[in-house]
Symmetry: C2
């Protein structure tokens, strides 16, 4: 069995709630703490388990909110105490990943970090390991590297990365320069991208030397960079709390795609490794239904108490977190999410609208179920 | 205010569970014990309240099962103790109504009985009272009389009664002879009936002298008649229990439509009064949804905890018996029934299929929720 990759450190930002997965995903128990795929462990734990052979237990860091510190430590009992980085408030991915990069770079100047979302689903991990190994090789050569997923359909739910020229980096036979980053497209554009084999899905994985990442951030967002460096300098000292309290709330909220990846692509400094593994961001119940149905959309997928669900001429997904009998009759693409204090009924077609429910609940002062 | 109708006695068979209304309606708390229309009282109590001005509290009898005796007495605190007739097991409407007819006829030979389901919805009770008053006049003249509802749509959910010649009965200006009874038709036939103004819905209301009803039953179902007479003879004596135990279980299960009404129609002895009130048998959730929406199918109807239901681009019916937040997103004609131990999700279109769920639950040994 191959050992950990030299200089490599994995960072898992565990921040987002996943409000399109309400009422399963909540502020208290966000998406990454759930076993959404029936794997038997949480998505966060799956992410850890997937990274472990690449890093070993002492080289994985998690960036998360105060509210989830304890739960993260329960999920990941082997994580080093100093590797749980607490954000005092949510400030988007540039701050989260940038903070980890700055802290780790102070601890280990040549460190290569890879950031991997805490709440995505990946299967066929051997292909994942191979992709990361190549990405680290590309990162070692001074590039920022991402892993892109060859599309399996014309999805409008993901951003796309257009591959350019192939690269010649030792240990990275599949590496290519990124020509451009594209936001979630409309359906017609998505169809074009799907037909054109040079487009890959942006899976939000970035691998680079910490110093390269920070330099790119400094070039594009100098204030954010300066703030993060100030915090990182104080992090492993007694001043951490005071500096965080003063600096963190003023940091700019910006996704790492905009603050780092796109500008790097414009300069020809962003590389991509095609990842030939199954990947899904499990962004909403439609995507969860599809994932669990495992290519059999003619069945009703069930997550939870199987033997208490009665299905009559229905397809879709039933998530059962209670002990109740659930009967579904004659609805195609149905989504039912049954929890102790909240019930959601929708269809795959409308899964994206679930976010609006969360908004409506906030307006009505029903924070207790959010 | 007009007083009770002379010689008239109302009989309320309260037997059926209403399994197409599961999980709201259960063996323990069948349909007639529910406030399905948001009236503030149960359907049984509404039935009682509607009949009261026509009979007074001492001339209403209920035929029900052992399991519901106590609940019926709670719902109807003014009912006479001797007017709750307990069936030792369910044996269909001929046995239930025939038993009441036989008991009441022994107590009062000239009695005119009217049977009215415990679980139907009626509004505009003045029109109802007028129809019953006419029906009693027709019954006094020796006919068996039914009340038929002028159809408001081409329903395939009800049986039909075809009106024939008008009658000349004092106090019954709208009475007509019934030409024939028709079972629930297919859609094409229903459309024809709806266009032809001589067809009325069979609302299952029968008014006749008890002795006339029993004679008709004797002519068509002599064994059933003999059994009922034997039980009635023993009813108000110490032998009731023994005779019931011996005779009741052997009685033929047959609907009163077949054992009495149809044969009477064939002999020209069945009359009908058109009932110009709103009537619904609330047979399934589609019919309940329609009833509650009150002509506004573009809205989501809610029965229960209104302020915890979030509706986003959905229509249909939500029945909430729990304290949970319920969010429905993007489904037309949706039916959600949320109870403590069971949840049903279907659409108006499939409301008739709910009965099959009850069958599936029985097969799986989930009697606790039935």
């Amino acid at each position: 069995m191959p050992g950990p990759i030299e200089d490599f450190y994995a960072v898992i930002p565990a921040g987002g709630i996943g409000s399109r997965l309400w009422p399963l995903s909540r502020a208290e128990t966000p998406k990454f703490l759930h076993d959404l795929t029936g794997a038997g462990v949480s998505l966060l734990r799956s992410t850890w388990d997937r990274l472990l052979p690449l890093t070993g237990p002492e080289r994985i860091a998690v960036v998360t909110g105060q509210a989830h510190e304890q739960k993260v430590e329960v999920e990941l009992p082997d994580i080093l105490e100093g590797n749980v980085f607490i954000e005092s408030s949510p400030r988007e991915s540039s701050a989260a990943i940038g903070l980890a990069a700055a802290i780790l770079q102070r601890r280990e100047p040549d460190v290569i970090i890879g950031s991997f979302a805490a709440d995505h689903h990946i299967s066929r991990t051997r292909a994942f390991e191979f992709a990361v190994e190549q990405a680290v090789a590309v990162a070692r050569a001074g590039y920022i590297c991402t892993i892109g997923i060859p599309p399996t359909e014309a999805s409008v739910g993901f951003g796309y990365i257009q591959k350019g020229d192939e690269m010649d980096v030792d240990g990275a036979p599949m590496a290519a320069i990124v020509d451009r980053f594209v936001e979630k497209p409309d359906l017609e554009t998505a169809r074009r991208y799907y037909a054109d084999r040079s487009f890959l899905w942006n899976a939000g994985m970035f691998i680079s030397r910490a110093d390269v990442l920070l330099a790119e951030l400094q070039a594009n967002e100098p204030e954010l960079h300066a703030g993060l460096m100030e915090i990182a300098e104080a992090w492993d000292t007694g001043r951490r709390h005071d500096v965080c309290e003063r600096v963190w709330p003023g940091l700019k909220k910006i996704a790492i795609d905009y603050a780092v990846a796109e500008p790097a692509a414009d300069k020809g400094r962003l590389a991509v490794i095609p990842g030939h593994f199954d990947w899904d961001d499990v962004g909403d119940f439609a995507s969860l239904a599809k994932l669990i149905s495992d290519g059999h959309p003619e069945n009703m997928s069930i997550l939870g108490q199987n033997d208490k669900v009665i299905v009559d001429e229905s397809t879709g997904l039933v998530v059962s977190q209670t002990n109740r009998v659930i009967a579904v009759v004659g609805v195609e693409g149905l989504i039912v999410v049954d929890t102790e204090d909240a019930l959601l009924v929708t269809t795959s077609e409308h899964a994206q609208r679930v976010k609006s429910v969360v908004g409506a609940l906030q307006e009505r002062g029903r924070e207790s179920v959010l």
